[in-house]
Structures are given as C-alpha cells and as structure tokens.
C-alpha cells in the first residue's frame, strides 16, 4: 500500500476556498455553529468566504444589517448562551466602528465571570494593501487587538494555514480573531483536509538558514521567503519564522532561531510605530540580549495614512527588496 493511500485527502484550492471549507466543516460537524455578517448569507460573502453555505445549511447562515456593534454584540451574547458564532467583519478597518464590543465587552467576560461564561466565538476579517484602496480600507489591525488581554489573534499566510487556523479558532472556546489577507485570497495551494484540529497557537519555521532570523506573519511571510531567495544568491541564508498567532505568541520559536542566527528582523505590513513588531523586538531584546550581534530591525509600512495611488503605495508598503536590504544592513553592523 502506498503512502498516498493512507494520507488524508489534499485539495489544491485558493485561500478563500480554504476559508469556505473550514466554515463548511464547522457547520457540518458543530451543530451550535452560526455564521453571519454583512452579505454573508445569500450573497455568500463579498469575497465568497461563505459561498453556498446558506443554501446547504439553511438558517444558521444569515445576513445582518450594516451594524457592526449589533453583530459583534450578538456574537458575544450568543456565545455566552452556548452557540458557536462565526461572525465576519468585512474589512478590518470596520472593527473600529464597533471597537467597544471587542475591547470593553468580549475580552473581559470570561475573566470577570471567572470562567462562568465561555465565549467560543470567532471573528473573521481581512486586511491588505491593494492599489486603489484608500486609508480606510488598508489598516492592518493586529497590534490594536493583540494589545488587549483576553483575545486570541491569528493571521494565516497561505491557504493551508487559512484552513487549519480557522478550524483551530472555531474549535477554541476562547474568543478568537482571525485576520485573513485579502491580497492572498486567490493564492492557490495544497490544503490537507480532515487532519486533527490543532490548538490555537504555535509558530512555524518555513525556511532554515543560519545568518538571520526573519520573524513575520500573514502576507509578509511570502515576501520574507522571496527576500530569502534574493539573499541566498549572495550566500546569505535566512531563517523565516511565520508566527501565525500573535496571541498566544510563540516567543520560544523566535528565540530558538535567534540563538542560531544572532540577528533578527521583524517584518509586518502594518505601519511601524506601535506595530506588533515592537512588542517582539522588546521581548527578544529582553530575553535574548546576549544572543544578539546587531540591533533588532523592523521592516514595516511607513507611518502615513495609506494613499490610494499605486505608485505611492509602493514606497510605503514593505516588500521582499526592503526586507533583503534590512538584512544586509544588519550583516554590515
């Protein structure tokens, strides 16, 4: 019998199809699941995340008015009463329309009730910088959310991660926010289906190399890998660590890498100041001061509101070339 006969089925699907598959799994296997949001029901979601689900599963998949506060609060209350809601915030920028429900409500309830109330809810949203999109559709919001105790935050870098991390988020009894990358929605990749559900947490090392650690997440993981290829042409080998989850943060994975490379770059699509790269840099500087041969450098978007014009975006947004350039600077330190 060959190995492939024993392997679980693997689909070659896009990131957004992987999201759809995870939602389908939840509705099929977890009867308490509800899936809702703006245009989520009959329209199947503006990007197709919930395509076909209302047709297949009926009333548990439904549309809401354009009312983020009502939607998020409803997810919270339904979770407190035993449902497993998965609510979509159409663009991550729209979290701010209803941030009270995230920060002042959702994050506190398990703590204040000392576990009496569980909030097994998942909030899915997407973020990216795409030409023509303005500042109000371009925020990367992970730093705002990961700053709040009580919430789990994950960002998937490819279709397989999108599938596995969303399933982990749904299965978790903590409130989890998954931030998808709209720029990766049509990226195709192998997605093993029907593997055991993993717990929330854990980074993955996507490339091994001894000269520098690039810690990153979401779309920048792909940019980091491209940067690593550019550097390899000059004999510089990079470790690329896709953090995946910012809460819980797998600092051990970063430390293990830095112990071998002695240099750290943190790359993220969000703007520099107060970005989550600052948190990682501070922690590594604290726990790994003796390991470092150079300062920790962050590669991030410039501190400007995101302009819509594509040529302006290219000088704001980090990419493989800027990451590679930052690595070379560290090596010259």
């Amino acid at each position: 019998m060959s190995d492939t006969a024993l392997a679980p089925p693997t689909a070659e699907i896009t990131y957004i199809q992987a999201v759809n598959a995870a939602l389908r799994w939840a509705l099929a296997e977890l009867p308490e699941t509800l899936v809702f949001g703006e245009d989520v029901g009959l329209p199947g979601g503006p990007y197709g995340a919930s395509k076909g689900l209302r047709q297949e599963f009926g009333d548990r998949v439904f549309d809401t008015p354009i009312s983020e506060t009502a939607m998020l609060g409803a997810a919270i209350g339904a979770a407190m009463r035993g449902r497993r809601p998965i609510v979509e915030i159409m663009f991550a920028d729209f979290f701010f329309v209803a941030f009270d429900q995230i920060v002042n409500q959702m994050s506190n309830i398990h703590y204040v009730s000392r576990g009496g109330f569980r909030l097994p809810l998942t909030i899915r949203s997407q973020q990216a910088v795409v030409p023509g999109a303005c500042a109000q559709h371009s925020h990367a919001v992970e730093a705002f959310i990961a700053h709040v105790p009580g919430i789990r935050v994950g960002l998937a870098a490819d279709p397989q991660q999108a599938y596995e991390m969303l399933r982990a988020a749904i299965a978790s009894d903590d409130p989890v926010i998954v931030l998808e990358s709209r720029a990766l929605y049509q990226q195709r990749g192998p997605v093993p289906l029907d593997r055991p559900i993993e717990p929330v947490g854990g980074a993955r090392v996507v490339r091994r190399g001894g000269d520098v650690t690039i810690a990153t997440w979401s779309r920048m993981t792909g940019e980091a890998l491209q940067a690593a290829d550019l550097l390899a042409a000059d004999g510089i080998e990079a470790d690329v660590v896709d953090l995946r989850w910012l809460s819980p943060l797998d600092l051990d994975a970063v430390m293990e890498s830095v112990a071998r490379t002695n240099r750290l770059i943190v790359a993220h699509e969000a703007s520099l100041t107060g970005g989550f790269g600052a948190e990682i840099a501070a922690r590594v500087a604290d726990a790994g001061f003796d390991l470092l041969d150079a300062p920790i450098r962050r590669v991030a978007a410039a501190d400007v509101p995101m302009p819509a014009a594509a040529h302006l975006q290219t000088v704001v947004v980090p990419d493989a070339h800027r990451i590679a350039g930052a690595v070379r600077e560290l090596l010259a330190f």
Binding site: E32, L34, D59, R60, F62, T64, P65, S67, T69, A70, M71, L72, G73, A74, A75, I76, G77, A78, A79, M80, R81, G82, R83, P85, A98, D100, Q101, N104, Q105, N108, I109, H110, Y111, V112, S113, R114, G115, G116, F117, R118, P149, G150, R152, S172, D173, D174
Partner: protein, 309 residues
Amino acid sequence: MDSDHQTYRLIRLIRRFEEKCVELKADGRIQGSMHLCCGQEAIAVGVCRALEARDALTVTYRGHGWAIARGLPLVDLFAELEGRESALCGGRGGSAYFSAPAYGFLGENSIVGAGMPIAAGAALAAKFDGSGAVSVCAIGDGAMNQGGVHETLNMASVLRLPLVVVVENNVYSELTPIASMIATETLVERAGAYGIPGTRVDGNDADAVREAAATAVARARSGGGPSLIEAMTERLVGHYDLDPQHYRPRGEIESAMTREPLVRLRPVIGERRAAELDREVERELDQAVAEAEQVRFADTSTVGDHVYV
C-alpha cells in the same frame, strides 16, 4: 405572602441594600463609585416577576436592584462590592460589572447601551437552541441615544429575536435632563420606527410593569419578536453615590419622594405590616453583611486566572 406584601418587601430589600452600600462605603468596606437605584426598584421587581429561570438579561451599571430581583444571593453581592473573593465575580467585577451565568444574568455593563446587542445575542441563541428563552435588556433613557442601541433595535426586529427592551426612564441622561437630549416627547414613540410595539408604563407601579413585561415576554416567546417598554420613574439619589446633584431643581427630590414605590405601597399593606416587613428586611441584610465579612480576599497570585480558557 400576598402579592403586594411581596412587592413591598422586595422593593424595600433593594432600597435598604442600596442604603447599606452607602454605609459600608462610609466605613471603608466598599471602595469606588456606585450607581444606586433608589426609587427605581419597581421596574426590576416587576420585570423579573414576568421572567422564568431559563431567560437571560443584561442590565445597566445601576444594576444592584436587578441582581437582587433576579435572585442573586445578597451575601455574594456584598462580598463582591467589598472586593472579596465572592461567589459572584471573585472581586473582579465590582459594583458595576456583576455577572452570574446560573441566573441568566449576563451582566451589568459600564458602557452605556453596550449590553443591548449582547442581550440580542442571547435572544439569537434562543432562536436556535430550542430553549424557548427570552432575553431582556434594561437600559436607561440616555442609552436610547447610543448607536448600538439603534442598531440592535433594528436588527432584533429584522431577525425577529425574542428580545424585550426595558427603558428605565428616570428623566436624567446622567446629569442632564433627557428632555434636552431627545428630539421627541417620548422614547416609546421611536418603537414604531423599528416595526416593534412599544408601551409606556408607570415604572413606580410594579404590577403595571409586570403586566407590560408579561405581554412583551409572551410575544417574544411565541415568535412575535421584540418589543419596547418605556418605564417612567425618578431616581431619589444621584447618578453616582457622591453626586451632589446640583443640576436638580430645588424641591425635585422631595417631590419625587412622594411618588416613590414604597410610599405608594405602605398604605396598601398597612403600616403595621410594613413595619414587620421592614424589620425582616433589616435582619436579612444584617445577616448577609455579616456573612460577607467572612468571605476572604482573593490571593493576589490568582489575578491572572481566567484571562483565557
């Protein structure tokens, strides 16, 4: 016990509980600001009488009376207020954030109007879990101006959720008269804009409140969707316990004291019976205060517990 006697006793219990909180704060046993419900008790008493154990509710930060009317043990409330490791929230919640799953008490809320969508969520769960539960949200008059309240009234109506909205209109939106903060005569007239029935009642008449609540609850439970009850009342105390109430016209509080629920009920049950019930209430409260004093303070090593599951 006769219904009027029960009503008097429960309102008196809440009233004296609130006054006891003021004493305990003066003694240094309670720290922090409190929003007391003296004068408004009949609303909580009336509504809770129309509810069943399976139902859920969210309330405001002026929620001690709701907690008591819903049946939460007094010793737990006093211990929580004193920051002790109460069976309620272990000292994590304090006066304005009581939370009790076993009573369907989804919690007080310090953010005006924020409990409304959460109550709608509890109602949403009931649509799917076969419990037949309804969800009550108590908000103040000021909260009717919060965006999330508007969103929820619309969404709950569209989704036909089993929700009952009780507006405790004490005519003050925090320190400002509500009349200067709303463009219409009443709040109940907004209900039609959401396609839901609205009714305005004398919030100081527990029976009238109970009747309105029972109608709304029956409607919700039978799939008829949400309704709104505007219960008119007056608070006899400040917005918060140390509020000097300079914004209230001279004589207003004294005048309100002639219309408050206990003053109305005393002649109904008679002075002798009222005095008996008053003594019972004092004994019950004194016992709860004494028991609460025996509850220990949480070990500081536990401060990080329950941030996550």
